[in-house]
Amino acid sequence: MLLLQQLINGLMQGSIYALVAIGYSLVFGVLNLLNMAHGEVFMIAGFVGLLLILALDLPIYLAIPAAMAAAALLGVIIELLCFRPIKKEFHLAPVVSTIAFGTVLVSLTVNFIGSEPQVFPAHVNIGDFSVGGILISGTELLMFAIAITLMVLLTFMLEKTKTGRAMRAMAENEKAAQILGVNVKRIIITTFAISAALAGIAGILVGLRFGVISPFVGATIGLKALAVMVIGGLGNIYGAMVAGLLLGMLEAATVVIPGLSPYVDAVIWGFLVFVLLFKPNGLLGTRVQAERV
């Protein structure tokens, strides 16, 4: 029973990893760029959500889209500051630039708000309920439902819509896509906005679930999601989904194994190193996209 409970908890935690990892994966898959500030977008969105709830007393169903919009805007800013102006022949430069931008976002947050985690007010929390002896947190269930819905919507968007097709075309070959009439600049901006919006909703959901949001959450959950993306296979969105859910459950299972619980923060990273040893391109990764850096 305990294990089942833990697996359900893990699945819900994993849905957040998956949501953030998909954001990394989308940008990497379509544009072959690694946005290392993605975890910080996640963190900022959490704070924007909290600020709106506290200052304007916004109900949660309005705060979530607002946080998503703020995150999407931040995503566009990252594209304009860290990717667009940098010469193509310096492959390492955009990665370093986004790392630097992430550092700026964290230090600004620390300087203006403080390094202490900020508390979400109790009234936005959703009650818990139990099914057959298994306790399910309402917030976690909401989080899980939203994450799964967004994953389905994103899959639909990529497979069926014109924008999605253009994105997949760019993932295959940017030049060819451009020749065939894809508006590359528009697609790049859209990709960044969608990727960041996904991080945004994850940020506010994590804030709700833990009741607090810390300026350093990007360096914990954000980086773990990065590992999840790599484990799933760079740029592979389905890989990110599967790996996210899997690793959430793996983490939750670790907690109940005696003696292993202090090492829970190393589980994902240990697993990453392990996977890279045997499958250097990740579980579902096929193309070698990493050559360039």
């Binding site: 940098i86 630097a100 590992a227 790599v230 240990g270 190193v273 890279l276 250097p280």
Partner: protein, 287 residues
């Protein structure tokens, strides 16, 4: 400016040169804080718990970090680019969690009581590191590193042993980071696992990228400038990371190769050779 600034500048120069050596084989590491941690803990255990003197502890720190570096170098052979960057980041996190739970070195509460680092010792080690880096880059192995960086397949087909070169680079780099860790822990008297996390690894990367990753002079200069510059501006301390971040972002747009590149070094060489040598017909033709 106080003595401590120059001590940290020296330690950061050693760290930057250490990371430069891994980068010079085309391997990017986001986990150099881990090697620093291993050196720092090894040296601290040597002096505080086992009663050895600091010079011996520094040697032991270098050896221990070097061994771990070699151990990491082998699996790192199989992964490249972003996979390697994230893999080393993961290694850094795992090492941090290890020290967090390792009771012998105090776990989360860390270890204290070290002392003995002086300005002279630090800059002596900086001089040694620069001398070593100079020797390395002007040796056969240094050229081989460059060849691996430029084109691995071509280097291999010329008969270079890629495995040996890449693992050596990781090992040597880790050993040097271990030395920096030993100096650091014996200057600030107290270390805990948090001192060597992701942010420490990032700062080392910033030094190298800012100064220029093409030559070790760039890495050293980057560390020196980024350590001294915030000290010149009053009240900079809490804005330091914001400042670093914006500086690096601007650098990536304006001069992605960093402050010093190969071209800069060649320009300086030309400048001095033109000034010092009288112009003869031969030099004019050659130039």
């Amino acid at each position: 400016m106080t003595e401590s600034v120059f001590i940290f500048a020296g330690i950061n120069i050693i760290l930057a040169i250490s990371l430069y050596i891994t980068l010079s084989t085309g391997q990017i590491s986001l986990g150099h804080g881990a090697f620093m941690a291993i050196g720092a803990y090894m040296a601290s255990v040597m002096t505080v718990k086992w009663g050895f003197n600091l010079p011996l502890a520094i040697v032991a720190a270098a050896i221990m970090a070097g061994i771990v570096g070699v151990a990491v170098g082998f699996p790192a052979l199989r992964v490249k680019g972003i996979y390697l960057a994230i893999g080393t980041l993961g290694l850094g996190e795992v090492v941090q969690v290890f020290f967090h739970n390792f009771k012998y070195t105090g776990g989360a509460s860390g270890i204290s009581g070290m002392s003995g680092t002086t300005l002279y010792l630090v800059w002596f080690m900086v001089a040694l590191t620069i001398l070593f880096a100079w020797q390395l880059t002007h040796s056969r192995i240094g050229w081989a590193f460059k060849a691996v960086h430029e084109d691995e397949v071509a280097a291999q087909s010329m008969g270079l042993n890629i495995t040996y070169l890449k693992v050596t680079a990781f090992g040597v780099s880790a050993a040097i980071a271990g030395i920096a860790g030993a100096l650091y822990s014996h200057y600030i008297f107290f270390i805990d696992p948090h001192a060597f996390g992701y942010h420490t690894s990032l700062l080392i990367l910033f030094y190298v990228i800012f100064g220029g990753a093409q030559t070790f002079w760039g890495a050293a200069l980057g560390a020196l400038v980024l350590t001294l510059l915030p000290e010149l501006i009053r009240g900079m301390q809490e804005w330091r990371l914001t400042f670093y971040g914006i500086l690096i972002m601007a650098m990536m747009v304006l001069r992605p190769q960093g402050l010093i590149s190969h071209d800069t070094i060649n320009w300086i060489k030309d400048f001095f050779s033109k000034k010092s040598l009288p112009k003869t017909k031969a030099t004019e033709e050659a130039g």
